[in-house]
Point group: C2
Chain length 650, copies 2
């Protein structure tokens, strides 16, 4: 696919060139015709020149047609993707996987509710995350508040640097993200304007590539250069200026303690490093983890669940000796092979390719074993959830994308209808974060010492008491000592895998969605092929017909499912069994139990639609085995007699 699109790009470029050359010829020949007419040349001469002009125009039209074809081919893929997305999103919203929040009050952009099936998927994903990372690695999980005082986010750099560039409609005051407007302009031009020259097209593509690196001034200059105006009103736009993306608030009643809703969960771990290190017996390496809400006051959210104002993050901070980043369990993931997209391939315009993880580490493509270990574990996590491994790649950050302190950084990107989406960031952030929070640095301590010596006392704000206390000279001693120790003093490095849970879930929805024709062939039915691990409901219970005996059996089965800890949905409506199957296939329920006798029932598999007969008393244990992964559906097919029923097979 990547090389096909490269061909297309090459074709587009040569056609654009041919088109503009032809235009020059057409213009020249046009002048010839006009001059001949003006100088009263002979009829023959004039008609020959006109004929030549027509021939040139035909040639130009033919080039235009070919260019149009190439562009609508890539555009057609785009349209298919849009149509696919529309049918996934329609299904998701109709079945309440997620819906815009506060809909009855006309909603708020960038805020979504997870309805019952979406909430269940999310809690399954989080439970598996705990199992796969926290329990497996004995991580120290913590749970810190969202409300964060300014001083913490000042130290971390968020107060000063967590910004996006914004422009305002100069008349209405409506706000836009400056880079989005420039991006939309460039894409629109490239996709719809046949007349732009090869050079112009190359320039626009360069702008798109450099978008993230532009300063406010550079963005402003481009917006001015291209004459970009406010999309809704066509009014002129202000110069771009930074807008801080944190939700600001005030802590306590005084109005004097500014705070923010945390933009990430990591800071809660960093500020507790010393206690956690002590809890771990003062030994490195160890990892802490946190699952929680994070907040970004996006200027103009779009792309549904992918860019929202409040989201669930799951973050790991693995603290390690900067001089020893080996990992004892690396061997367990070393032989995994998957799509990697190192810096070099990106720069040379190649596409991602499959690599074996330990080769990538030993060749130095991945900076160290610990980083490699987490890349491998993330791969296992995502594919276990049901992410298609052919549409998952690990992309290394380019030098200009990485913060100066970072040693290496890889994003797990998942391809969906919006393109390749960063869902997990795995960064070796070196010692930056811990250094930022070094408690009472030497400078502050020395200032306090000076004040104590001159005034005899110093005010010290103790926020836990909500007031200032006065420390007098005789209460404390602050001194600068030189200690000679036979100990290496260092700040640990942090390796941080950070998971955007909502993005992973959205991509999982797209990867799990398919349609198949109904039995009558008159409509397409939607299916989510969730693996048991993430399926929102594990099975359904249907009495085949409305009848007291069957309903009694259904309730007995329901009770045994609850006792086994299996979520189910019981549907005793008189709707046709085929319709009831279709309804729950659309929720991604893996197994359906149809009560069609009082001793035994059928169990149907969602994807194969095959059925087996199972005794009522065994139902819960069969379902539990498949849900826990102890048995596969193939095992069940082998163990139990298969069942065919016309009525039940829609």
């Amino acid at each position: 696919m990547a090389s096909a699109s490269a061909d297309a790009a090459a074709g587009e470029e040569s056609l654009r060139r041919a088109l503009s050359e032809k235009q020059v010829e057409v213009d020249a020949q046009g002048s010839v015709v006009r001059e001949l007419k003006a100088s009263n040349a002979s009829k023959e001469l004039i008609s020959a020149a006109v004929e030549a002009l027509s021939a040139l125009k035909l040639e130009k039209a033919s080039i235009e047609k070919r260019l149009q074809e190439i562009m609508s081919a890539s555009n057609g893929g785009h349209q298919n993707k849009e149509a696919f997305r529309q049918s996934v999103v329609n299904t998701l919203e109709r079945r309440l996987f997620y819906i815009p929040s506060f809909k009855i009050y006309r909603g708020v952009a960038g805020l979504y509710d997870y309805g019952p099936p979406g909430c269940a998927v999310k809690s399954n994903v989080l439970a598996f995350w705990r199992q796969h990372f926290v329990l497996e690695e004995n991580m120290l999980e913590v749970d810190c508040p969202c409300v964060t005082p300014e001083v913490v986010l000042k130290a971390s750099g968020h107060v000063d640097k967590f910004t996006d560039l914004m422009v305002k409609d100069e008349k209405t005051g409506t706000c836009y993200r400056a880079d989005h407007l420039l991006k939309d302009f460039c894409k629109e031009k490239l996709e719809k304007d046949l007349t732009i020259s090869t050079e112009k097209a190359a320039e626009l593509k360069h702008v798109l590539a450099m978008l993230d690196d532009f300063s406010a001034e550079e963005l402003g200059a481009k917006i001015k250069l291209y004459g970009i105006t406010a999309p809704d009103t066509k009014n002129p736009l202000s110069e771009p200026y930074p807008f801080n993306l944190m939700f600001q608030t005030s802590i306590g009643p005084s109005g004097l303690s500014p705070g923010y809703m945390r933009p990430e969960t990591a800071q809660g771990i960093f500020v507790n490093f010393k206690d956690l290190y002590y809890y771990n017996g003062n030994k490195l390496p160890f990892a802490a983890a946190q699952i929680g809400q994070a907040f970004r006051n996006e200027i103009s959210p779009r792309q549904g669940l992918l860019r929202v104002r409040e989201f669930t993050l799951a973050e790991i901070e693995h603290f390690v000796d900067p001089e020893d980043k080996s990992h004892p369990k690396f061997v367990e993931v070393a032989k995994l092979e998957f799509l990697m997209f190192p810096r070099e391939l990106q720069v040379s315009g190649e596409s991602a390719k499959k690599m074996v993880l330990d080769e990538a580490v030993s060749k130095g493509i991945v900076n160290n074993e610990t980083l490699g270990y987490f890349i491998g574990r993330v791969y296992l996590f995502l594919t276990a959830l049901g992410i298609d491994k052919e549409r998952l790649r690990f992309r290394q950050h380019l030098a200009n994308e990485m913060a100066h302190y970072a040693a290496d950084c890889w994003d797990a990107e998942i391809e969906c209808s919006y393109g390749w989406i960063e869902c997990v960031g795995i960064a070796d952030r070196s010692a930056y974060d811990l250094r930022a929070h070094t408690a009472m640095d030497e400078k502050t301590a020395m200032e306090m010492k000076a004040e104590l010596e001159t005034k005899g006392e110093v005010e010290f704000q103790v926020c836990t008491l909500g007031k200032n206390v006065t420390i007098k000279k005789n209460m404390v001693a602050i001194s600068k000592e030189k200690k000679k120790e036979h100990q290496r003093v260092f700040t640990p490095s942090v390796i941080e895998p950070s998971f955007g849970i909502g993005r992973i879930i959205y991509c999982l929805f797209e990867h799990s969605f398919y349609t198949r024709p109904s039995k009558a062939g008159d409509e397409q039915l939607n299916v989510f092929s969730f693996p048991p691990l993430v399926a929102p409901i594990k099975c359904t219970v249907f009495p085949l017909v409305q009848n007291e005996k069957y309903e009694e059996v259904a309730k007995r089965i329901a009770k045994s499912l609850t006792a086994a800890g299996i979520s189910y949905k019981i549907d005793i409506t008189g709707t046709s069994i085929g319709k009831r199957y279709a309804r729950t296939d659309e929720l991604g329920v893996p197994l359906a139990i149809t009560v069609d006798e009082t001793d035994s029932v059928t169990i149907r598999d969602r994807d194969s639609k095959k059925q087996v007969r199972v005794n009522v008393d065994e139902v819960a244990s069969v379902v539990k085995r498949v849900m826990d992964g102890q048995s596969t559906w193939a095992d069940v097919l082998w163990e139990y007699p298969s069942h065919h029923s016309a009525s039940a097979d829609e």
Copy 2:
């Protein structure tokens, strides 16, 4: 206990009365002595009068002493409680169950982090909550954002009424909760001042009882009457005025969309009622549930985890036909018997007493079966976690505590060192919440109709698009219709059990904590007797001595525990086994596995300290059975040979 304290109260009252009567006698006799002396009476007369005065003074001193004794007895209980709390809290903070947030930046009052063991307890409590309520009742769980636009909280009444009364130090501007200052003043007087009269004491007690009902004016008048000043500076205080407890913020970049961090999770369910009702097949009753963070910007937080600025709520909204509040599963909880504290007992000054739930419902003490069902389920939930059933009571709200729309309301209160704490509220809120959010009421619709008819168009803000759209007359039709339907139209009633997870966890910590002497008898060792369900770590693995063979076995066992999904802690330090047991008893780890041979190991029970020998290959399954509740420790003692080891029994 309650009746003992009633006796004490009666004794205190009669002593105060006797004391002031005696004072009158002393004063009178003093005058007699003075008059005799002034009138140069005979020596005998004077000395008889002085003797009588001395006798009266002795009698007064004796009464004072008895009063002092009674007061310090109740105060002594208070001091014991404080000492107990201090040792629980010290252990909790030292072992990182929870710690003040942002400690390295001197903390923020009312914000706490759960460290590793606390976070594990919390996630076990939440997982059990999901199992016990959501799964068992097939509830519709949703997950809504914390950031909430003003319009929603305006409708719910929070913008106008979610306030506490505050006073300011008129010189420094420091803020205090007005009712707290008055409460502290009254308690201090009652506990420490012997001279106040019976009438004064009764007045102060009345003030304490009425505290929640005082208006701003009444509170202000009492503060003035008692001459209460700012605790830190003794400066005068401002008049009390309402302070809204919601954290305010602004949504989006314009600064024109005010929002708040939600003060409860319930509103997210109410605004989605229509969709959830549809999801449930348009059938009542059904319940929705939500677990999530809620925020209250407390004026001056105190009492540790019990009054914080950010906390986890788990809320259920059970929607039911107002004319049929029966519950099909009520029979399952009907015979439960526990402490109930109905309105009548509170008003008549009696204490809570044990009642059988179905009697309480049939006598109309509990308003209806559904409310009764949830009271029973909450009782089962809390006691399964390890809450002491003798220190758990269900207290009915007094008429003046309940909102006017509520039909009935019961709080699950748990007794801890701070007194009886409301941990779960179970309210029949009638139709109030759904009515508050009725989308576009008739009035708004009719106004829009009028505007369309006069101007031909109307502006309509669509927040999901982040802009206004203009609706023209020909696009919509708004009409008022009268429909005659054979349907009863009603707004469902809401029965709301609402759980303060942090409060439950704190009370659980206190109820689980005990100390026992070390083997040497030289110190008290701390133990948390958590049941397996909530224990933060299920077992520990200790090689008895540092030795490669034992460590190999320990690692094999660790691996099998991970595979079985059991959390464990491995400790391969050379510390004495007794010390290692003590360390993990303090974390509430139920079982300890000591590797003292290569084929079999010992498993030790935390509370009985008894040990059994188990083959290495069986260890994980034995631990898992006990943790899942399939076996008890008594079963294990019966099945496996017991083990005695001097070294391992500290």
